[in-house]
Amino acid sequence: MKRILVVGNGLAAHRLTARLAALGHDGPVTVLGAEPHPAYQRTLLGSVLGGDVPASALTLSAPPPGVRVLTGVRVVAVDRARRVVRCADGTRYGYDTLVLATGARPTGDVHTLADAARPVRGRVAVVGGGVLGVETATALRRRGHRVVLAHGGPYPMHRHLDEVAGQLVAARLESWGIELRLGGYVPASGTLGADTVLRCTGTVPETAAAREAGLAVRHASGSIVVDERLRTNDSSIRAIGACAGTPDLAGALAQAETLATLLTGGDTRYVPLPPILRPRVPGLDIASLGASGPSGAPDEVVTFSDPARGRYARIEIRDERISRAVLVGLPEGTAAVAQLSDTGRPVPEDRLALLLGGRTKAHGDDPAAMADETVLCHCNNVSKGTVVRAWQHGARDLAALAATTRATTGCGGCTAAVRAVCAALPVPEEVG
């Protein structure tokens, strides 16, 4: 029977084993994880750091029956010829299919549950103003810490935001009382006078074992090269998640699901979604979509800037599709643009409605100005004209109007409109 061995016990590995079980895989599955805990939801570490939930709340569901998960076991070598992995403690595990799901290695201090659970005291310096730094700084500020955020760029997240967006973010962080130190280099030993220093300087794919085994890795990012079936250059070794260069949770989960289907005999391909950077900063919507490198010249660029309200968008459109976008302070627009980008659907004609979330409130029509055919009571299909005629024929209160026209007898929602229409009518002369 085919033995599947998974290295790494993060989100991708967790989803893979769950899906394998759901799809009826019946061979042995073993997971080896370096961290001492059961699998947990890494992307919510900020909520632990911010004190919103205890660390234990991040624990993912127990593995399905039959899946063996060994924690605290670090794989140090892969013997591809014998199809065996060797661990730091000297143990060995054989495989028919090896799945590398080793995630990313931090270059800073906030990466694991252990990091997040470490006590943070007094004034905190967060070093690195990328996504993780911004999230960490705001989480700590929410918890009441005094926070200084040091970042080498001219404004936070400068690799992903343009200047206008970046300044809006900076202004908002400062308005929350986060002190910003921009444009300066902080040496590894620098404390900025804080009681606690948290370095949020990013991650690199964790591929030590893969590299050592001679698997192909990308030159620039260091991530493992995989094809659309998630195969490395050794067809019995697959890689998913951050170690394969997948930037976010959604991608890691999608790869795990694709791989589970492939390993249980299904036929499918992994098609990456366009990258979206969406830091978790409650109260401030920031999004950066699309490739960060140069892409073809856009056909159209839409910009919207409303600095007084902290709102900004710059959207590049090619072939009626979103190719790149930066948004700040536009919650509706962010959601809509993200979906358009993911589905590759054409951008709506009304660009402003796209950014602002379409018409958001029904307009109250002036009853006097309404046309006679306008339906006032939808429940009973009663037009303004019908109400007016009934009123002119003597139905002068709601009960009488209801009895003659049935207006207001359904949901009752038109009562105010019916009243207003009648109030605007001149009282006719009594005719004999």
Binding site: A335, Q339, R359, H378, C379, N380, G410, C411
Partner: protein, 714 residues
């Protein structure tokens, strides 16, 4: 429009019918109270001050009497002759023929070769007797009903969470005290307008891909992409916890299983939820805040959340949210489902569902079988087991091993079943199709034998409304000559199939007395309810058990205040995971189609399309589409469009709706022929509930002058 009153009233030998009666609207589950009378030769209707409608009625209710005397009302049995046409026949001829053919088919192919398809509009008495007839007279397991297309997802989820399934476990009027109400996929402003009177005070959070009239009234309108409500509910659960709004004490003291449900919600970060559903993070957060800050809050689901191949899991996710916020089982807060059909509640608990016996007893539970066998005077072993769910039943008609004969009561599956083109083919493949109806519905027109039956204002009985309250339906008129009650029809057939006549009472009151005994001790216990108590004006919500001595049981307007219906008294979180719809838009079929109801029509429209005032408002099928999508498709407002799915095509009038998502079109399902929205929908079923995927189909829209296949006819 109205037939001669004299004819309606001329019932030889019976007591003169009353001049006025208090009864209820024949249509939806709100069951608005009405008073019927006569004026100028017509039946008049006035709303009563009944609590659910408080003097209100929608246009359907006001105009309901017109159906009584509709020009093409069925007034005599019809039998399809050798020439292939339906021709009038006497009752004896028709019933003899049906019984004879049923016996032949049963002899040749076994009892499961005969199927029964019931309806959520049938009175409690009819639903009960239909189930009994199927199990005893036909001895078939093949019985299910159109409520499977309506309530089954919410039913499965409520049973799992609370141990019992009552649409609203509290009276409708409680909603009037709410501060916040979340409506997931419900559009009561159109489907049951008077309900909105109770939602006046509350701030509404409406989840719907369309900006419905209900959404227009909402404090917040969230527009999830079709088929992503489950993801949204998981995301809201995560935010409830992360934002510190979990009701820890409630979860600890009154529930089980939180941890497993929470673990399933862990991957649904607000940002991922936003990406999948299209609902902004800020809106998710605000919705949770509103619900959590409210002193009294409700989470209500409707068909929009339920009619999916993951409908039961979706409802479970919303129930989990409600439990996390500590809403259910508290006076003034809770979870509920807005039942759709007139007797959607009673219809699902009295034995016409494939897996159930009366009183919400499960047919595979030996104790339940023993109990019913005793009430019915048969051996438990003689009762058939569980049968397939509605769509599976329809899908199997005329196939090897499937039924070769089908009896349809109170349903019009040619229009209302999913994958309607296919279902119509299956119906056509039957050796015998028998339809009991009061108008020549699209299904009746296909039948070999059509049996004309009485309508709402011509019959006595009970229904159970969306809040589990048992209501009396009362007769103002006698049925027209030549028309019989369904109970009479069932007895006529049963006797011809060799059953003792006394097993099939024709008096509704007598059936109800038996139904009381049948449901005694069941989850939906009616044994303490009687016509006398109802006629005396008592408001009785089940469970209402008979009490041997002392004062009668007052009924249970509010369930769960002391405990949930599981043996340990706790509610259960059900761990659920989001999954995609069975079919997603792609290159050829780039849009989502979703189907639903409009204010002027009810269900398959068999009744409301016969009312001039209603067809004047909504005369024909339409497709609602965003102007951008319309432009791309080359269709224009007021023109005709063809909407095409992998299963069929619908021709409909184009209506532009700027408020709609650009990726979604909407079609009402009330229309016949090539306007049937259900020609588009598919047969993917929910594994827990058997609910079909009505709310998501992948479609394209094209101008009607495009011949399928691409050529343009000029």
């Amino acid at each position: 429009m109205s037939g001669p009153l004299s004819e309606l009233l001329s019932v030889p030998g019976s007591a003169p019918p009353p001049r006025t009666v208090h009864t209820h609207c024949p249509y939806c589950a709100l069951q608005c109270g009405t008073r019927l009378g006569h004026a100028l030769g017509e039946v008049t209707v006035t709303p009563s001050a009944f609590p659910v409608n408080q003097g209100g009625l929608c246009q359907k209710g006001w105009t309901a009497p017109e159906v009584l005397s509709t020009a093409d009302r069925l007034r005599e049995p019809l039998v399809r002759g050798a020439d292939g046409r339906l021709a009038p026949a006497g009752w004896d001829t028709a019933l003899d023929l049906v019984a004879g053919r049923l016996k032949e088919i049963r002899r040749a192919h076994g009892p499961d070769a005969v199927g029964v398809f019931g309806g959520g509009g049938l009175t409690n008495e009819k639903a009960y007797l239909l189930g009994k007839f199927a199990r005893l007279a036909l001895r078939t397991s093949r019985i299910d009903y159109n409520g499977r297309f309506c309530m089954s997802s919410a039913a499965a989820a409520s049973n799992a969470a609370f141990g019992v399934d009552r649409g609203l476990p509290f009276p409708v009027t409680d909603l009037g005290r709410a501060d916040v109400v979340l409506l997931a996929g419900a559009n009561p402003a159109e489907t049951m307008p008077p309900l909105m009177r109770h939602l006046d005070r509350a701030a509404l959070i409406v989840l719907d891909p369309r900006r419905t009239p209900t959404a227009e009234r909402a404090a917040m309108h969230l527009r999830p992409a079709p088929g992503t409500d489950l993801a949204l509910a998981l995301g809201l659960l995560q935010l409830t916890v992360l934002d510190g709004r979990l009701d820890h004490a409630f979860v600890r003291e009154r529930t089980n299983g939180f941890e497993a449900a929470w673990q399933r919600a862990l991957p649904w970060t607000p940002e991922r939820t936003e990406r999948v559903t299209g609902v902004p993070v800020a809106a998710q957060r605000e919705a949770v805040r509103m619900l959590a800050d409210a002193r009294r809050a409700y989470v209500l689901t409707g068909r929009g959340a339920e009619q999916h191949s993951k409908g039961a899991d979706t409802v479970s996710a919303f129930v989990n949210l409600a439990l996390a916020l500590g809403l259910p089982g508290r006076d003034g807060s809770g979870y509920g489902c807005l039942t759709g059909q007139g007797n959607g509640q009673g219809g699902r608990e009295l034995g016409q569902k494939a897996d159930q016996l009366p009183g919400y007893r499960m047919i595979d539970d030996p104790a339940a079988r023993e109990h019913m066998a005793t009430v019915w005077g048969v051996e438990a072993a003689a009762l058939p087991g569980a049968g397939p769910s509605a769509y599976e039943l329809l899908d199997s008609l005329g196939t090897a091993g499937g039924p070769r004969a089908l009896l349809v009561f109170g349903s019009n599956p040619v229009v209302s079943a999913p994958n309607a083109g296919h279902v119509t083919e299956r119906l056509a493949a039957l050796d015998l199709l028998v339809v009991a109806d009061f108008v020549p519905s699209e299904t009746a027109r296909m039948a070999d034998v059509v049996l004309p039956v009485a309508q709402w204002a011509e019959e006595e009985g009970t229904l159970t409304n969306l809040e589990g309250r048992v209501l009396r339906r009362r007769a103002l008129l006698a049925p027209p000559p030549g028309v019989r009650g369904d109970l009479e029809v069932l007895r006529g057939l049963a006797v011809r199939l060799g059953e003792p006549a006394e097993r099939y009472p024709v008096e509704p009151r007598e059936v109800f007395e038996e139904l009381r005994r049948a449901t005694a001790g069941g989850r939906a216990d009616y044994s303490g309810v009687s016509y006398e108590r109802l006629d005396a004006g008592e408001a009785l919500h089940w469970p209402c058990p008979a009490v041997p001595s002392g004062p009668a049981h007052p009924g249970t307007p509010r369930l769960f205040l002391d405990g949930f219906a599981h043996p340990d008294g706790r509610a259960r979180f059900v761990p659920v995971e989001h999954r995609d719809a069975a079919e997603l838009p792609g290159r050829d079929l780039p849009l989502y189609a979703t189907t639903g109801r409009v204010l002027a029509h009810y269900q398959s429209g068999a009744q409301t399309r016969r009312v001039a005032g209603l067809t004047a408002v909504e005369p024909e099928p339409f497709v609602e589409i965003h102007p951008d999508a319309a432009r791309r498709a080359g269709v224009t407002a007021g023109g005709l469009a063809r909407v095409v799915s992998a299963r069929g095509a619908v021709v409909a009038r184009v209506r532009l709706a700027e408020s709609l998502r650009t990726d979604t079109v909407f079609l009402p399902f009330h229309f016949p022929g090539d306007g049937r929205a259900n020609l588009l929908t598919g047969g993917a079923l929910d594994p827990r509930s058997g609910m079909p995927e009505f709310k998501v189909s992948a479609v394209r829209v094209e101008p009607v002058d495009v011949v399928p296949g691409g050529a343009v006819s000029v």
